[in-house]
């Protein structure tokens, strides 16, 4: 269904340049991974705290607010570098089932992060029962771990 879009996408001038360059893809790939580390740090800071095993000295909402700019910033870098790599090799990704499964997980994870997880973290320990704090942290970690592992598998299989 999306094949014509992918075909068009990978013939854009930027895509062609990206594909023909030896070092452009590796550089974007490396920046994507650095952004992932920051992203993971910002996510884990909050999720470990939700699980009750992180920086317990401070309220969940405070940890969440401090981590938020790094979460947003790294998400933006991941998006830009990710789309760039996709443009260069549309066909490869179109035929990778890991890519599609990863994208579905990304959409689910971001949706839950900006709705449920955000509300739970901001409401904090006073207004949400510990079991739900833990469930939220565990769901977030699980979904993002899936995304990371599936991303690694795109390049291998």
């Amino acid at each position: 269904m999306l094949k014509p879009f992918f075909d068009w996408f990978q013939e854009l001038p930027f895509s062609v340049m990206f594909r023909q360059s030896t070092w452009l893809f590796p550089m974007f790939d490396a920046v994507h991974l650095v952004a992932l580390a920051i992203f993971a740090g910002a996510v884990l800071l909050v999720d470990l705290r939700l699980l009750g095993v992180g920086v317990k000295d401070r309220p969940i909402a405070a940890i969440f607010r401090d981590a938020q700019p790094w979460f947003i910033g790294s998400s933006a870098v991941l998006f830009v570098t990710g789309v760039s790599m996709l443009m260069g090799n549309g066909e490869k990704y179109y035929y990778s089932e890991f890519f599609w499964q990863k994208m579905i997980a990304v959409v689910i994870a971001f949706t839950l992060t900006f709705t449920l997880r955000r509300r739970v973290a901001l409401a904090g320990e006073g207004r949400v029962r510990p079991i739900w704090l833990r469930a939220t942290g565990l769901t977030s970690i699980g979904l993002w771990a899936f995304v990371v592992i599936w991303a690694r598998l795109i390049g291998l299989v």
């Binding site: 030896t22 070092w23 590796p26 790939d29 490396a30 991974l33 650095v34 992932l36 580390a37 920051i38 992203f39 993971a40 740090g41 910002a42 996510v43 884990l44 800071l45 470990l48 095993v53 992180g54 920086v55 317990k56 000295d57 401070r58 405070a62 940890i63 607010r65 401090d66 981590a67 700019p69 790094w70 771990a145 990371v148 592992i149 991303a151 690694r152 598998l153 291998l156 299989v157």
Partner: protein, 176 residues
């Protein structure tokens, strides 16, 4: 290898070839599921270690997580950083064990190892110098020079480790 030069390197190369011939080394590189599993675990543990080290570093530099005193971040995140480090070290060692000569001739791998060493020295140096006087500076709005520079160095070196680690897969050139 030129005649008469680098006997140590020659014997190291010979030793690595010897290791590479082990059946267990071949088993690692020929394993169908083992290789993706090891790489996935290596990236997941990198997220745990690298992510949480960077979050701590941002606080040291003074640009992130400023609401949390450094000592709380350090104490609470340390166990998780260590879990990440142990898993990434073990999976990394197994990956190298499977293809020792591939890695020993890869410039990015060698650079990565040097940067891991430097980053570790930086962390230890900070721990046994500036960190000893944390009572004096933890509450101050401006971090002392020792803390800031350790934070900046740590970010630069660990980012370098991640970048060179990723570039190992792109063997544009090899050292011989």
């Amino acid at each position: 290898m030129p005649e008469g030069g680098g006997t140590l390197l020659t014997s190291l190369a010979g030793w690595l070839e010897w290791v590479e011939a082990f059946p267990s080394s071949a088993a690692v590189r020929e394993s169908l599921n083992g290789y993706p599993a090891l790489l996935s675990l290596h990236v997941i543990s990198m997220c745990l270690f690298g992510g949480l080290v960077l979050m701590m570093d941002l606080r040291l530099v003074g640009i992130g997580n400023r609401g949390t005193p450094f000592r709380q971040l350090q104490r609470r995140l340390f166990p998780w950083q260590m879990v990440g480090m142990v898993i990434s070290t073990i999976t990394g060692l197994i990956l190298v064990y499977g293809q020792p000569t591939r890695f020993s001739t890869n410039i990015f791998f060698l650079l990565k190892m040097v940067m891991i060493l430097l980053a570790s020295v930086n962390a230890l140096a900070f721990h046994f110098s500036t960190y000893l006087s944390i009572d004096k500076w933890e509450r101050s709005p401006v971090m002392p020079f020792g803390a800031k520079s350790a934070g900046v160095l740590s970010v630069v070196l660990w980012v370098g480790v991640i970048v060179t680690g990723r570039l190992i897969a792109y063997n544009w050139f090899e050292v011989r």
